[in-house]
Assembly symmetry: C2
Homo-oligomer: 406 residues x 2
């Protein structure tokens, strides 16, 4: 297996650090628009080479694939570049893995009730082409989407006879402090992307209605996260799981709720009220800037906050329905990473590290032919057991928590 890693940012850098400890591949070309960043990430393993890439150009992706005899393209750039990377891989005859799907466009008239172009629609539109060519695009293979989808497959195959809801629930108790030890507001993930996903209309799937949307921040709910994280206010957010799970796993309803917490929700609403979420440039005292870029610029860079962060992050899937014994069951399958551990062990903060480990495992399963297939497939299209076993073998076990089904 010869991998082209597109993007050496937070998640790409953590991917390189995790893969360096495994022996399932021969070479990884670490490629970034910023060659220096690619070189720094590539320096840690003799099987790595650095390259410059323009992820907005499918031809640039294809050319690099040909140059290095790439078998698998690992997309670790912003999802705005998904389509050129996806198409560049196909043109090169390589398989493809990403951690987020092609972007959505809200419905022009009724954005808060009806879907427009959905997450992944542009990729699924090319499904037959990939299948006919015998090539695999494994989409949404991070932690969420990704591990959450693996949990859905596992729940359907081993824990439930009938599934009511597949509810992805994400929460954390991360705290970032400044040099004086005072708590500061510093999101652990790209603020630009967080605004994008949180202010887009959330999507829900129901067996009778299919996919539909709601206004942002709908259906607030306090979810009690395990391993000491505790209760966090969660709201509906547009996310790939809702688009992926119902395609392969039988259920009545699929949702995604993000534990943004009250303060973050309030801040996102305020930014939206003021129009500071806008990406259109405004004129300010002689210069032109996009307000959303200004918001991102005043906050600390998420890639740099690891050493000043404490706490744990939890990704998981809350499944309700009937167990294999036919009795009502409510189960939360989850994966928790402590920032202190990921910083000490890998030098990467827990949120990006937790995202990056999953595509490494998936590529190892594809390299060893434990997973194989053709077409545009989500993680739930494959057997969950070898994936979850490997997650534990990598030193980062997952967990199951039974909840009161009443």
């Amino acid at each position: 297996m010869r991998i082209l890693l597109v993007g050496a940012g937070g998640v790409g850098g953590a991917f390189a650090a995790i893969a360096a400890r495994r022996d399932f591949f021969e070479e990884i070309v670490v490629a970034d628009y910023d060659l220096g960043r690619a070189e720094r990430a590539a320096a840690q393993d003799s099987r790595y080479v650095a390259a410059r890439i323009d992820a907005s150009s499918a031809a640039s992706v294809t050319a690099l694939c040909h140059e290095h005899g790439i078998t698998h393209v690992m997309n670790a750039v912003d999802p705005v570049f998904n389509m050129p990377v996806f198409e560049g891989a196909f043109a090169a005859g390589a398989d493809y893995v990403d951690m987020a799907m092609s972007l959505s466009t809200p419905h022009p008239e009724t954005p808060h009730t009806t879907t427009g172009v959905k997450l992944g629609d542009l990729q699924f539109a090319q499904e037959s082409r990939w299948e006919e060519a015998g090539r695999l695009a494994l989409v949404g293979m991070g932690v969420e989407p990704g591990l959450s989808d693996v949990f859905a497959r596992y729940a359907a195959d081993h824990l439930f006879s009938e599934i009511d809801e597949l509810g992805t629930r994400d929460g954390a108790n991360l705290v970032v402090t400044d040099d004086d030890g005072n708590e500061i507001f510093a999101p652990s993930f790209s603020m630009w992307t967080t605004i994008e996903e949180c202010l887009n209309p959330p999507v829900i799937w129901e067996r009778e209605r299919g996919w539909f949307t709601t206004p942002p921040f709908s259906e607030p709910e306090v979810f009690d996260f395990p391993e000491g994280i505790g209760p966090v206010e969660c709201v509906n957010v547009e996310h790939e799981e809702v688009l992926l799970m119902p395609r392969w796993v039988d259920c009545r309803r699929a949702t995604f709720k993000y534990g943004l917490g009250e303060e973050f929700i309030t801040i996102l609403k305020a930014l939206h009220t003021l129009g500071l979420d806008s990406t259109e440039k405004v004129r300010v005292k002689g210069v032109e800037v996009s307000p959303r870029d200004v918001v991102a610029a005043v906050l600390p860079d998420p890639a740099t906050i690891g050493p000043r962060m404490t706490g744990k992050t939890c990704a998981g899937l809350w499944v309700t329905g009937r167990g294999t014994d036919g009795e009502p069951r409510s189960t939360y399958l989850h994966h928790v990473v402590d920032n202190e551990w990921s910083m000490a062990e890998y030098g990467h903060q827990c949120v990006v590290w937790q995202t990056a480990i999953n595509p490494v495992i998936a590529l190892e399963l594809l390299a060893t032919r434990v997973w194989h297939g053709a077409g545009v497939l989500g993680p739930e299209a494959f057997d969950a057991v070898p994936f979850l076993d490997l997650l534990t073998a990598y030193g980062s076990p997952w967990g199951i928590q039974e909840l009161d089904p009443s």
Copy 2:
């Protein structure tokens, strides 16, 4: 009386429109950094001439005073320029009126308990100079500060034998809509200045403690405003009344609470949490901008929202203590302006119109020698009755509401 009006923005423009109907002056020089704006405001009256001025330069103010034989300088620019306009007037031997006092600087170590440089300190430091020269600087002569301070004098002279608290309370039920009739977030006053005054530590005066500060947004209270405005959440805000009233009116406590409403408070807190209130420039994709300027730039210009605004604004003073009969008394003296009326009658939105009418009245009282004095004086240093009578004569009556003193 020959007046130099410095600033032809929202309040300056309304000042010119109100004064045009009065005959107490011979000439007004309408001066602005933007000569076109000065010319537009000056076009409405044959006694007006337009001029260009640099309000950051005391010499520029003095020169214009000499050129036109100015007797009174009316300061209607941002308070950041108060000191050059104040000093330029003194150097020219003119009297001076403003609507906000010189700016404060928070205490470097304990900003939320102790005052640093207080509002007006820089002006009061020159008090003896003005007094010895026999010149008058009438400071804080807008609506708040201004009319509120006149109310304090009136309450002390005519309604109360003993005053417990002089509590300025400002509230409104203004709503701004877009072209489709949807309510939008559009502050009726400069967002830059609103951030400045709301995020500075609020100041309180008590007879035993003197002046002290609290954290922003302290002591939230719902005040029920008259004439259909109704209950609005008010919080402590740094404001000139607290610095002015105790100098001339005997009381136990002086406060200022602004009816920002819950949404506005939440938005200001969010801006502060993110650091978007900062005036220090940040680098954003190759250009440098001040985040606070960006926030102001994305919002509608307050000067333009008049036609799309409905509702009323209320300025007033809540006085508690003992009435002239010695019995407990609680009285709200207030002045309400309906935006529909001010737009129809003057073509100016109610918030700037309500600010501008008060210095016109004050100058008329100075022109007719009903008010006279020397030094740096607040509105409460003068007899309130002729002022309030003239307010009613201008067609904009004030009101008194008795509250339950228990």
